[in-house]
Symmetry: C2
DNA sequence: AATTTATTTAGAAAAACATCTAAATAGAAG
DNA sequence: CTTCTATTTAGATGTTTTTCTAAATAAATT
């Protein structure tokens, strides 16, 4: 949790690509892994960081674990970034 | 350059704090360093990563080097993040 | 020209991270 | 209740990152 974990999670190209995959809807850990040439263990590790950052949540179903985007945290990131846009100042923070 | 460098740069709490400091206007490397308990060499290294990511630019003046926010790249980050917001889909990308 | 002030570069050490293999867990199916 | 499938956890290893100290550069001042 916290913007620090969020930005740390977003710092990895692999994790950003996982998020892009999830734009198309929920995927199981295995399905996500198919898109990368890494072991399932490594993917699992990346997923746990995305989860810790609240960028995704998981739903356990049968013996699968499905991952889904958590849209709400992206709003937080947007707000953080917005403070640096041209014409922004202290007001409204 | 590129979104990868940008997110990598934003992944560090120190570098994010530097950006926040620069919201108040340009600062020299030394002035930035005063806000942290790190050597000037370390700060210089962080500044060079922010520069590489185009999040800041530098202006050399006298024997000082001033750093300033580069607002344009934050727009790029906003766009990247926006694709994950609720109600976003492929259209418009 | 020598010295001081501001910053960067180089190189080294320590900490954090990514990735792997192997073992553990958990549920499904035989 | 054993075996198979999906995923995670643990521990090891290599790579990247952070940070430091010391040396280098560069402009300003004496």
């Amino acid at each position: 949790m916290g913007i620090a974990d969020t930005f740390k999670a977003l710092g990895s190209p692999v994790r950003r690509e996982i998020l892009v995959l999830l734009r198309g809807g929920r995927l199981s850990a295995g399905e996500i892994g198919e898109h990368f040439s890494m072991t399932g263990a490594t993917i699992s590790h990346h997923l746990s960081q995305l989860k810790k950052a609240d960028l995704v949540f998981e739903i356990k179903e049968k013996n699968f674990v499905y991952y889904e985007l958590n849209a709400t945290v992206f709003e937080e990131v947007m707000l953080w970034v917005a403070q640096f846009r041209e014409g922004e100042n202290d007001e409204g923070k």
